[in-house]
């Protein structure tokens, strides 16, 4: 089985985000593989362990995003591809166009990715890749079985779940709960550096800057308001409860 996993390098989920000159500051921020993509990589490895075959990890990002690819290789993926768009001025269409182009040069039976990235949270990229490659897509999958020519996926839907069947090749996006990603093993870390990792530019995937120009422009970023300090209401239980109810009604305006 030829398996492709799409990954993105994101800020650490525990990173403290600060704005610098209207942009998200990168100083002192540690980078990780998008956790939803980690589920996708884990599922890819499980499919490989069950059906045989190989796992190719593809990412679009700056050169430092090789760290996320190396992590996937250390977990057990076979080869990696990084396409550096050469600009930070990108949007979901940019990334999806490049990913689809890079993937189209590979053989694939199934393409896995996180259903969204924890940084911009747009949940667009995998779906766009499916559209460009003219493949069916099942989103927010929590259980997957794939062999032969089809996949059966359990997906989150509003208020419940649905079991769906799609012919392969298809794009499947991972939701939390799909699996428990493994830690890279020490041997895996050592083997990762010997595995092929292709670093490419736009030209290497036969694209030029005009074909991937961002269509959406971010005008500005703003941080959520800082959480105000809590308030302690002193006094006897009955009085305090009355004061609390009053504050909830008049100050917080939630009852």
């Amino acid at each position: 089985m030829k398996i492709v996993a799409l990954v993105k390098q994101t800020f650490d989920s525990e990173a403290k985000i600060a704005l610098e000159g209207g942009k998200i500051g990168r100083q002192g921020i540690s980078l990780i593989m998008n956790p939803y993509d980690e589920y996708a990589v884990e599922e890819a490895l499980k499919l490989k362990e069950k059906n045989g075959g190989e796992v190719t990890v593809v990412t679009v990002g700056p050169d430092e995003a090789t760290e996320a690819v190396r992590q996937a290789l250390a977990m057990g993926a076979d080869q990696g591809i990084l396409v550096n768009p050469g600009t930070e001025d990108i949007d979901e269409s940019t990334v999806a166009t490049i990913l689809a182009k890079a993937v189209s040069s590979l053989e694939y039976d199934i393409i896995l990715g996180g259903f969204r990235a924890i940084d911009d949270g747009s949940a667009q990229v995998a779906g766009r890749v499916a559209e460009i490659l003219n493949l069916p897509v099942v989103n927010m999958v929590t259980k997957l079985e794939a062999d032969g020519g089809k996949a059966v996926a359990t997906a989150d839907i509003e208020g419940g779940s649905a079991v769906m069947e799609v012919p392969l090749p298809a794009v499947i996006t991972a939701q939390k709960g799909l699996n428990e990603p493994r830690y890279p093993s020490m041997k895996g870390i050592m083997q990762a550096k010997k595995k092929p990792l292709k670093k490419m530019g736009l030209g290497d995937v036969s694209l030029d800057a005009s074909q991937v120009a961002a269509k959406v422009k971010v005008l500005n970023y703003s941080l959520p308001p800082a959480r105000a300090a809590g308030k302690v209401i002193p006094g006897e239980p009955a009085e305090a409860a009355a004061a609390l109810a009053k504050a909830l009604r008049e100050e917080a305006k939630i009852i």
Binding site: E67, R70, Q71, A74, Y183, P184, S185, M186, K187, G188, I189, M190, A192, K193
Partner: protein, 379 residues
């Protein structure tokens, strides 16, 4: 000169940090409280290959360098000192002497299952009147045909009781003192080899510390590492490497306590502002951070020297001495910054302070490290 970690070392550090925070962290306080280790963690560490980091792949290891090993031990200790010593004693004190002094047959028989984490290892060196003075061991081994008969006891043996494979330093000829010593590999379950009392300790309480008792314990000659007379040599070489891992452990404990104190100082408010706004606290934090960094550099430098095949007896002693004293100092300050909460078991810094103390004691006290260092600079 290059202080930058390689991509593999960075990935190892991140992986072990994630593992320690997610898998070990939630259990550390309870394991300390119960004075018992959750051995399911050992199985997970074995799966990841943390049980044989520095050994060649053909012996079941990951074939990484000592810098990587020191980073892994540090990251474990940052969250739980007990977990770090389980790995450090297993790797440096048991697996390593078998790797360095064992013959091929011994490596296949003992090192492979150790490195793969199928077996847990320990070193039996310390006795009531021997330890750093390895030439003074009294546990006797008397040749009898193709076997040796062992009699005597070993005390304070880390990973004792639970361990499957023990490297035991014995005396084969008391008259020859340290030249009359040997090192044997003894497996748990060997008739005549039993465990005495379990030690109840100030710190690293989750790690097992037992007395080993040998009563007419028959061990075949093929279990001897190197040759008769080499026990002291095996012990000294083992301690050189062991010091690096204890230095790394000390750095990890200190780093963990420093981070806890730093975070707490920013949220604890007194007189209407966080205590980190007070210069007294700021200077404490600056000193803590500086000392931890200095200890880490000494530690990684001694690991680097070992990787480069350079002499490092003095450097690993300096790293262990400084890192251990740093660890004690930093953890005491961390408790101070936490104030009453630091003294409470609700927060981890009191455990870290208790855990730090052992790094000034085991695998050679700070005083012994000073002897090693001064011998090296005065000779």
């Amino acid at each position: 000169m290059n202080f930058k970690l390689t991509e593999e070392q960075e990935l190892l550090r991140k992986t072990v940090r994630d593992f320690a925070e997610n898998e070990i962290g939630p259990k550390a306080a309870e394991m300390d409280e119960k004075e018992d280790y959750d051995w399911s963690l050992w199985d997970k560490m074995a799966d990841m290959g943390l049980t044989g980091i520095v050994f060649p792949e053909k012996y079941g290891g990951a074939e990484m360098d000592y810098v990587s090993y020191a980073l892994a031990v540090e990251e474990l200790a940052r969250v739980d000192a007990s977990s770090s010593v389980v790995i450090a004693a297993h790797t440096s004190l048991c697996s390593w002497p078998i790797y360095a002094f064992g013959n091929e047959e011994q490596k296949q028989r003992f090192l492979v299952p150790l490195a793969e984490g199928k077996k847990l290892g320990a070193l039996g060196l310390t006795e009531p009147s021997a330890g750093s003075d390895a030439g003074a061991v009294k546990l006797s081994a008397v040749a009898d045909g193709n076997d040796y008969i062992l009699n005597g006891t070993k005390t304070f043996i880390t990973n004792g009781g639970k361990g499957d494979i023990y490297v035991v330093v014995v005396s084969t000829d008391k008259a020859k003192k340290h030249r009359g010593t040997a090192a044997f590999v003894v497996e748990k379950g060997t008739p005549g080899f039993t465990f005495g009392k379990k030690e109840h300790k100030l710190g690293i309480r989750a790690s097992y510390t037992y007395e080993l008792v040998f009563e007419n314990c028959r061990v075949p000659k093929e279990n001897m590492l190197a040759s008769d007379g080499d026990g002291f040599k095996v012990a000294m070489a083992t301690l050189d490497g062991g010091r690096i891992s204890i230095a790394a452990q000390a750095v990890g404990i200190a780093q963990g306590a420093y981070e806890q104190a730093l975070a707490y100082s920013k949220i604890r408010e007194q007189f209407g502002r966080p205590i980190s706004a007070n210069q007294g606290i700021q200077w404490m934090l600056a000193d803590m951070h500086t000392r931890v960094e200095a200890a880490r550099l000494l530690t990684l430098h001694s690991a680097y020297l070992r990787d480069a095949g350079e002499p490092h007896t003095k450097e690993s002693a300096m790293a262990k001495l400084y890192a251990a004293e740093c660890s004690m100092w930093v953890t005491v300050k961390a408790v101070q910054i936490f104030g009453g909460y630091g003294y409470s078991r609700e927060y981890p810094v009191e455990r870290m302070m208790r855990d730090a103390k052992i790094t000034e004691i085991y695998e050679g006290t700070s005083e012994v490290q000073r002897i090693v260092i001064s011998n090296s600079i005065l000779r």
